[in-house]
């Protein structure tokens, strides 16, 4: 395991981030008071259901929130710089050079009327002033890195399979050798075998090029396997975070328990599993206390009224739940 040591450098720090969407009826707090830390070379998995704010979080970090979406408060530090304070133009200088993103559906993210090679070159030319020949060489080299032959440089997106398009997206994200790559459900629309080859490719490239990854998906069983650390999001909040194996073998939050119980396994005895009844709250008007309390099987009186404080356990495993009040290894105010 490539676990984070305390000596490791912090690459990205998000502090009390609030982001969401301005609508007629008010503000949809898709990301509410989210804080976390990402170290250099680390693979952080963020899991949650649709509408829990995981994509909004990714777009907020990339400074890509547009139209009615905005960051309301909070700070984002990247490589020791307060990037959330940067202007649009200021951020353009670091986007893709230092941090890049693989979008959810490669089918829509690639331009259908441009050859994939040209699209890769566009990304290079936007940030580096090098000759067309050099850019082309670099693009072909990147395609090779994701196991796509250089002859595909002249292919249009529609001529590639779904898995190949997704690999082109990964090549595109890595073309300027960023230190952080955010991957928003990069394998969701793909078949299991293709998904597995892409994951293996990402892991291989990560070891080779030493970048950090934030991997967002709803597929918890996959995340546990590939991440160093795991954060579980529910209704705009991170409700549990810790080393992946820890969260998997000792889930603390009832929601995490429920999620773990929602994936049948391929080995061991078959047991009836429960899933979680009910549905996530409306983010326009979220519950006052813990956001999970209407669906929680272990709900207490105070859950409805006060949001639980974060409780820290050994091994940097934190949870926001009243069940653990006074039980943490390290008390924090």
């Amino acid at each position: 395991m490539r676990n984070s040591e305390s000596s490791k450098q912090v690459l990205l720090e998000v502090r009390n981030l609030q982001a969401g969407y301005e609508v007629k009826k008010g503000f949809v707090g898709a990301v509410d008071d989210v804080s976390f830390c990402l170290h250099k070379g680390e693979f952080l998995g963020i899991a949650g259901e649709s509408g829990c704010g995981k994509s909004t979080l990714a777009f907020a970090i990339m400074n890509l929130l547009r139209d009615n979406a905005r960051i309301r408060s909070g700070e984002i530090d990247f490589q020791g710089r307060l990037v959330s304070a940067l202007s649009g133009e200021g951020f353009n200088k670091i986007r893709w050079v230092n941090l890049s993103m693989v979008f959810q559906s490669a089918m829509n993210a690639l331009n259908p009327v441009l050859k994939v090679g040209e699209q890769l070159c566009d990304a290079i030319h936007a940030h580096r002033s090098i000759s067309a020949q050099k850019a082309k060489e670099r693009a072909q080299q990147m395609l090779q890195l994701v196991d796509i032959g250089p002859e595909r440089y002249d292919s249009y997106p529609h001529q590639l399979s779904g898995g190949m398009k997704q690999r082109v997206m990964i090549a595109m994200a890595l073309v300027l050798e960023p230190q952080l790559v955010i991957m928003d459900e990069p394998t969701t629309a793909l078949d299991v075998v293709v998904q597995r080859t892409i994951i293996e490719k990402i892991q291989e490239l990560q070891q080779q090029l030493d970048f950090s990854v934030i991997f967002i998906t709803h597929d918890l069983s996959l995340l546990v396997e590939i991440s160093d650390r795991l954060a579980i999001m529910y209704a705009g909040k991170i409700i549990e975070e810790g080393p992946a194996q820890d969260v998997f073998s000792h889930p603390l939050h009832p929601y995490t328990h429920g999620l773990m119980n929602a994936f049948p396994s391929l080995s061991g005895p078959i047991r009836r599993m429960g899933g979680i009844e009910g549905k996530p709250p409306d983010l326009l008007d979220p519950p006052k206390g813990c956001r999970f309390f209407p669906r929680c099987s272990q709900v207490m009186d105070r859950c409805a009224n006060t949001y639980p404080p974060e409780i820290l356990f050994e091994g940097d495993h934190r949870v926001a739940c009243h069940l653990y009040q006074g039980k943490g290894d390290i008390q924090n105010g």
Binding site: S161, V193, G258, G275
Partner: protein, 323 residues
Amino acid sequence: MADRFILELEQVSKHFPVRSFRRFGQVVHAMDDVSFRLKEGEVLALVGESGSGKTTTASIIARLYPQTSGKFVFEGKEIDPGRSGKRNLAYRKKVQMIFQDPFSSLNPTHTIFQILSRPYVIHGDAAGKKGLRSRVQVLLESVGLEPPAQFIDKFPHELSGGQRQRVNIARTFSVEPLVILADEPTSMLDVSIRMSIMNMMLEYRETRNVSTVYITHDLAGARYMSDRIAVMYAGMIMEIGPTEHVIGQAFHPYTKLLRSAAPAPEKGLKRQKLVTHGDIPSLIDPPSGCRFHPRCPFKMEECSKRIPDWKEVDAGHFARCFL
């Protein structure tokens, strides 16, 4: 054994003509030489990647279109391939399909009452408007949409994905079918609701002894739901047998590949690397011999020459492989 078979497919194939000028006269081999027998009360899972012919198989059974060749027997009687038309009401009442996408399989301009009363009207057992309403209410309760009064006059867009899929399932249950064809009923739902939908189908099976063909790409979900598994690849069944056997003692290299590609968090972090290359073959011009041979790590000379015969690996567990 005294098993009674409700549905029997014998070497059923479905070829679609290619509608392209350049490839005029060619066909897509969506389903080739598919044979299986579905026992009464059994859940058979069809597992495979997209393009493996799972949905085509379900559509053939639902008589959405006729097969190109092969025999298709239902309740001991052969069903004429020509009779796929809309007139075949009696058959439709017995065989029902749950579709994958809960967002597009409900008419957006109809209320839930209109949607769920249609089967009763079509199949001619409507008991007057008032009786109809109470029947729909009972139906809604049976799929966990309670209280029914809260849902009955709503439109599909007012419901969440999980609730819509419940309406879909209620529509299937309404005519009390003998066979349910479930085409990836949970793949578009959120993880936390997936299990409750799967459990609901299992409970219904237990109380009604209904036979189910459960289509999925998720091997773990198939294990949870089914008694037997048939693994499909490029339009053909590669391996079929009791669920625990097929997963625990997978014989066909493709089943093994699927098994190793599935996420398995309990295994810990480091795992064997996948041994595969290439993509799913073109179904217009499928590979000669075994369709998996271009990607198979155990490829032999024979594999490209002819299609392997069925081989009984264990009791009731068959695989189509020369190994």
